[in-house]
Symmetry: C2
Subunit: 379 residues, 2 copies
């Protein structure tokens, strides 16, 4: 892609760790990093409207290619003029390749070296994804940052299987890049295709994968296949293997992470971008993430709690509503409950990453981390 | 109640009809009339947050005493300092008496001259409402306009039964007023108790009921027991019997109405206030009310409709989203669908009544009505 359309600039580096604060520049707007990206699976961040997302100052959101492909269907989004116009979101968007959902949600999956055939989890219809097709789908979606099709392995996965799978993922990555850069692709300069680093929990495979993606010409790097049930130590050790291999001036995106403590641990290890359904999923279930840890609003002890849900949080919900009111909304099944809890959780995640960024800029990352863990109970 | 706490002023009268534009003044704010009041059954207007309601410029919203009494319970709301504080809504609120729900929702109902005993529809617990108790509950809720306990009859209902029931409703209304005006009620000047006119579809009973409420000293009048399945003509004829009896300088509230055409027909006949669950209930089911009639967003014909849901509507939804996107949200079961549809429907109802008010002020009520019906298909 053209240098002037997209770029990544590091503003400040931590002295002790690979942590850094930067800006990812895209035609639809600048994204200060580290950044948390809310997940808008089906062209909507669950329970939020665009005004909510703007008031939360989400700089970029995700869409899931597999879900959008199943419903409403790519033709419907194409007719609208792309995903941004379909949902009327003006800021940057990132889409995944659909690979993760094909390997976790879809039925009767048949994998071959050329692609994967599957039945949709929704209506059982037979579909086929190839690396080229997935690029074309994302070209139509028109998202700003796109991903190549990869094979997503479950945890645990044996070394030989992970090694074998990596060959396929690498082959597909190369084919994806070639296809995205095809002469007649009018989106080639308008979308940034990242490479996805796989290799399970195996350090040498991960390093090999990182090197492969660099050599293939990718300038942005996703780290996939983590947060799939493996112990936290694996995630940290994989980052410690992979990050030093990656060029410093390229953005690093840790897929499907995170929890509040993940932001600290992974930013410390050099990650720039995160996405996770946790804030909205927990919010829908009545749990909020606070500075003291997680809080289940359905708990009877909140029946007459007229304080702030999180006194250290300055979001709309914490400044305007009580645990008593929120509990009532969940107990009575009112839609406003999930919405307010999701709103708070998104604010908490977005804001925590923003605060970490500020701390890096001001050279007090460690201080903030220490201060945070003093109050926070990890769950 | 003290004159300076509450008042009702007529600003402009229609020459041909009893229609009028006025202002209902309350300590929590002025309410231009005619007015549509969104229903916040369980301390939330379903799917809306307070920011939404303010952006819709709802001047007053409803709460349902029966529902709030069942959940979260009056003690929880009392602990918060009243319903306004519980849900953090600063503008005026109106609560009903709970009578309607006791007679339509509750189980094992036993009516006697002193009150009504029932099992909650929610957990089957036994409760008792008397006129005095219902006033006390609303005193605790702290809503700005309150209602006396009345007997709500189903439709159809025989003349003798309606006449018999009216005696009870009148007796309860008197007891309610006495109890609200008790010396030691610190809320007596802070809440306006309306009288509810009943009498089924029988003109003479309705007139008798109106006269009784006037003589008892009520200064605000609700018209209850309509919109319970009777043909529209009955509703109109009841209004034509009752309205001329009522003092001109008192507000008239038609309970549980209405549909867009009801606003025109009933304002024309002299009604000032409306409430109805229709906008939110229809919205949740995927139906929007538009200038051309009702539209079921789930219909397959909207799959690739990239126009405005209602090109004549200037609400956030109609200016920012397409039927194609809204349909997708409903088909995929995304919470944002009901929310956006409810938002539009509330805007439609609030705005239509606001436009009728403006038309009255400018002497062009008939013109607006004609213009509206030309495009609108009644359902």
């Amino acid at each position: 892609m053209k240098k002037d359309n997209f770029s990544f600039e590091i503003i400040k580096k931590e002295s002790k760790f690979p942590a850094r604060a930067g800006v990812l520049r895209t035609p639809r707007g600048d994204i200060p990093t580290p950044v948390f990206m809310p997940v808008g699976t089906q062209a909507t961040v669950k329970t939020m409207d665009n005004r909510d997302l703007l008031s939360l100052d989400a700089k970029i959101i995700l869409g899931n290619t597999y879900h959008l492909y199943v419903r409403p269907g790519i033709d419907v989004i194409e007719g609208a003029g792309g995903l941004h116009k379909f949902m009327n979101w003006q800021r940057p968007m990132l889409t995944d390749s659909g690979g993760y959902q094909v390997f976790s949600l879809a039925k009767l999956r048949e994998l071959d070296s050329d692609g994967v055939t599957f039945n949709s989890h929704f209506d059982g219809k037979r579909h086929r994804f190839t690396p080229e097709r997935v690029i074309e789908i994302q070209n139509i979606l028109g998202s700003d940052i796109i991903m190549p099709l990869d094979e997503c392995l479950p945890y645990p996965c044996e070394y030989e299987k992970a090694k074998e799978s990596l060959k396929l993922t690498h082959d597909w990555a190369k084919r994806s890049l070639l296809h995205h850069l095809r002469e007649d692709n009018e989106k080639r300069d308008k979308q940034w295709l990242f490479g996805i680093i796989q290799g399970g929990v195996y350090g040498d495979l991960r390093k090999e994968s990182a090197k492969f993606m660099i050599e293939s010409g990718f300038k942005g790097f996703s780290i996939g296949g983590l947060s799939v049930g493996e112990p936290k130590e694996h995630m940290h050790s994989v980052l410690e293997e992979v990050i030093p291999v990656l060029p410093e001036d390229s953005p690093r995106y840790l897929m499907g992470v995170g929890k509040p403590e993940d932001f600290f641990e992974c930013i410390e290890r050099g990650v720039d971008m995160f996405d996770c359904v946790l804030p909205t999923r927990m919010g829908r279930n009545g749990t909020i993430i606070t500075h003291r840890g997680k809080v289940n609003l359905r708990n009877a002890k909140y029946t007459k709690d007229y304080t702030s849900p999180d006194p250290l949080c300055d979001c709309y919900v914490c400044k305007n509503h009580t645990p008593s009111y929120l509990r009532h909304l969940f107990i009575t099944g009112e839609v406003l409950g999930p919405r307010l809890a999701s709103y708070h959780n998104l604010h908490f995640s977005l804001n925590l990453v923003r605060r970490i960024r500020e701390a890096i800029l001001e050279g007090r990352f460690e201080e903030l981390k220490k201060e945070f863990y003093e109050k926070y109970e990890v769950w």
